[in-house]
């Protein structure tokens, strides 16, 4: 699903066009198209933007404006594994900041950074809706509750 990293740097522009054309009949389709492109190709490359704009009869600026507004939409290929630590208040109350510090001290990664080999990146999220069982994280789409330093080490270490 989140391929397109590592071996195959080719960004399939034709696929973008197909994904966009399949969705033009949806109401307010731009965000749906961008989700589909990112789910399929891993990110929204700058070369995708004129194609989507052309399909929807929008300006490139309008499409880029939407891409840049939403935190989920990436303009670069993602790391193989994305660890998103929740920093909402409920997770703060049970030590979320300790986990952020742990990632920094042990793995040298700050929020928003990726390891140099592109295998793991650390990101933040404000609430995963797991507020009674925090601290929480989402790792490659999987929700993890009652996260502690030891589990975080296990999640990140083999990948670094």
């Amino acid at each position: 699903m989140k391929g397109a990293t590592g071996e195959s740097p080719v960004y399939d522009i034709e696929r973008v066009r197909v994904l966009a054309e399949e969705r033009t009949s949806l109401r307010g389709s731009l965000l749906e198209i961008l989700h589909a492109v990112q789910d399929t190709l891993g990110y929204v490359d700058e070369t995708a933007i004129p194609i989507i704009a052309d399909t929807l009869n929008l300006s490139k600026a309008e499409v880029l404006g939407v891409v840049s507004f939403y935190r989920d939409l990436r303009q670069e290929p993602p790391a193989q594994t994305v660890v998103r630590l929740c920093r909402g208040e409920a997770c703060q109350s049970v030590g979320a900041e300790r986990l952020v510090a742990r990632a920094r001290e042990r793995f040298g990664l700050d929020i928003g950074e990726s390891s140099t080999d592109g295998r793991v990146s650390l990101d933040q999220v404000f609430c995963l809706g797991n507020c009674a069982l925090g601290p929480s994280a989402m790792v490659d789409g999987r929700l993890i509750g009652r996260l502690d330093e030891a589990t975080l080490d296990v999640l990140m270490a083999p990948r670094l």
């Binding site: 109401r27 307010g28 389709s29 731009l30 965000l31 749906e32 961008l34 989700h35 309008e62 404006g65 939407v66 507004f69 939403y70 935190r71 989920d72 939409l73 909402g88 208040e89 409920a90 997770c91 703060q92 109350s93 049970v94 999220v125 404000f126 609430c127 995963l128 809706g129 797991n130 507020c131 009674a132 069982l133 925090g134 929480s136 989402m138 789409g141 929700l143 993890i144 509750g145 009652r146």
Partner: protein, 525 residues
């Protein structure tokens, strides 16, 4: 043959429910026992997850929290017949934490198989829709108004009045119903649990909203942080179509309603209703000025009902029961129940549905059992990141819209986040500003720029840099943000900040951590 229930709620899964379900399946296979494992929603007793229930002659009995290491002995000691075990909790319905609640909106969550239409109907599902389809739109609106139902998203606007406005609004083609499932407030998870545990309840509520207002198309706007809820809703919508609960000729009538899921993309502000409309239209989630009200000119400038998930999911039963049952709950103008969500540093967190008017202390101490850390409670934030931080002294205040407004707080979406004595409230105030700076859509200057300035000012206060002058400046800034922003993001960010100042002022006057060489130099900015 035994029937075992292991929740597929994402909170339960986050602490190993999938593994426990697998282990039970394998243990049964090895012993050549025939077992049905139902993946239900969560009962809401989240500290007991993974919770395992088994159907017995005495009703369901529960065990929890169960780990995969427990499964072998649990099965050997008679899980499938509901035998006693170290992890026994007895009859699920009689667990005091659950028995003391008034489950109305959450009635079916945890009880049924979320994706079984048979199960839904067997538990009273569709009776609201069957009744509504025989009624005139104005009668449905009247019934909902009469029930006293108010928007559960936080603002508490009377639902019937909103629907009446949409019903009366002329349109040349279409009207819409949008379920706001962009539950971004930290400390809230009831919308998620409802979608994962009773998706047909939301669907039925939306169809009834359509019948009541003349709307024929609907969207459920779900935040991307909820992948399980998205998947469950999509599957349920497919099932509902096949059953004739959606689409053309609903339940054999001439009524129609189309429904689809739309997924957000990581923007908190898209939970604000007009920003959500922009996002649904495929644009940046920028807040719109009101008027026009969405009820007059909402999605694609058409009359639009926008309700929170819990509001809509409460409608089927309100319609089925008639308005008086729901109305009989609650206090003053806050009628009905509220789904409180207890989280953060709390021993027994989860979903507590009770009539409005319960005190904060009852929720946090009686249900919550105090902190998870075992230290004394210092502060409770109610109503999400834009809600007030309250001290233990406020534990006697009844939780209803009006009483909370009177103490400069809000019930909001019912999130209750507990902090123990180690919390630094100046840091929490700073975080409120930081969050606003991160999530502001940028339309209003007081919010976009004010939040950044707020972080800077609080940093100076913490550092002991011209503290008194900066406290005055902070108050001024809060005033400006509260009165000069279009939506709740900018206008309510001062609420957590001011409440921290009011109730925990000492935290802003601590000896600076760094009374070091650089502290006496004023920072220029």
């Amino acid at each position: 043959m035994a029937t075992v229930f292991v929740s597929m709620d994402s909170s339960a899964r986050s602490v190993g429910a999938d593994d426990v379900a697998d282990a039970i399946r394998r243990a049964a296979e090895v012993r050549d026992l025939s077992v049905t494992i139902v993946r239900n929603g969560s009962r809401g007793m989240l500290w007991l997850e993974p919770l395992v229930e088994v159907e017995t002659e005495r009703g369901r009995v529960a065990y929890g929290p169960v780990t995969i290491q427990d499964v072998e002995t649990l099965v050997d000691e008679g899980l499938f017949v509901g035998a006693d075990h170290r992890l026994s909790l007895g009859s699920t319905e009689e667990i005091p934490w659950l028995a003391r609640q008034t489950r109305y909106s959450f009635e079916l969550v945890g009880l049924i198989d979320p994706l079984s239409p048979e199960d839904y109907e067997a538990h009273g599902g569709l009776s609201g829709l069957r009744k509504a389809i025989t009624m005139q739109p104005a009668e449905i609106v009247e019934l909902v108004t009469e029930s006293g139902l108010r928007g559960r998203g936080g603002a508490g606007f009377p639902t019937g009045i909103k629907w009446e406005t949409v019903l009366a609004a002329p349109t040349e083609d279409v009207k819409f119903v949008c379920a706001n499932a962009d539950e971004g407030d930290s400390g809230t998870f009831a919308d998620r649990m409802l979608m994962e545990g009773n998706p047909f309840g939301l669907i039925e509520g939306m169809v009834i909203a359509g019948l009541a207002t003349g709307a024929t198309e609907g969207f459920v706007y779900v935040r991307s942080e909820y992948p399980d809820a998205i998947a469950t809703m999509r599957t349920a919508i497919g099932v509902a179509h096949l059953r004739g609960w959606l689409g053309l000729n609903i339940l054999g009538s001439h009524e129609r309603f189309e429904l689809s899921v739309r997924v957000g993309a990581g923007s908190y502000i898209c939970g604000e209703e007009t920003a959500m409309l922009e996002s649904l239209e495929g644009r940046r989630g920028m807040v719109r000025a009101k008027p026009p009200l969405p009820a007059h000119a909402g999605l694609f400038e058409r009359p639009t009902v926008i309700n929170n998930v819990l509001t809509l999911a409460s409608v089927p039963r309100i319609v089925a029961d008639g308005p008086s049952v729901y109305r009989s709950f609650g206090v003053g103008r806050s009628r009905g129940t509220q789904v409180f969500q207890i989280g953060g540093n709390v021993a027994r967190g989860g979903v507590v549905e009770l009539p409005f008017g319960v005190t904060l202390g009852t929720l946090v101490n009686d249900f919550g059992g105090g902190t998870r850390s075992g230290r004394p409670i210092r502060a409770v934030q109610v109503g999400g990141p834009l809600g007030a931080y309250l001290p233990v002294a406020a534990f006697d205040v009844p939780m209803d819209y009006e009483s909370f407004a009177a103490i400069d707080a809000m019930v909001g979406h019912g999130g209750v986040v507990v902090f123990d004595e180690t919390v630094d409230m100046a840091r929490q105030a700073r975080f409120a500003m930081e969050f606003c700076a991160e999530e502001s859509c940028g339309k209003c200057t007081p919010c976009r720029v004010g939040a950044v300035r707020g972080v800077e000012v609080i940093d100076r206060i913490i550092a002991g840099d011209h503290r008194e002058a900066n406290l005055v400046l902070l108050e001024d800034l809060c005033d400006l943000m509260a009165s000069g922003s279009l939506c709740a993001m900018g206008s309510l960010t001062p609420m957590p900040v001011r409440s921290a100042l009011t109730h925990f002022g000492n935290d802003f006057h601590r000896l600076p951590a760094a009374l070091r060489s650089d502290a006496s130099e004023p920072r220029s900015r």
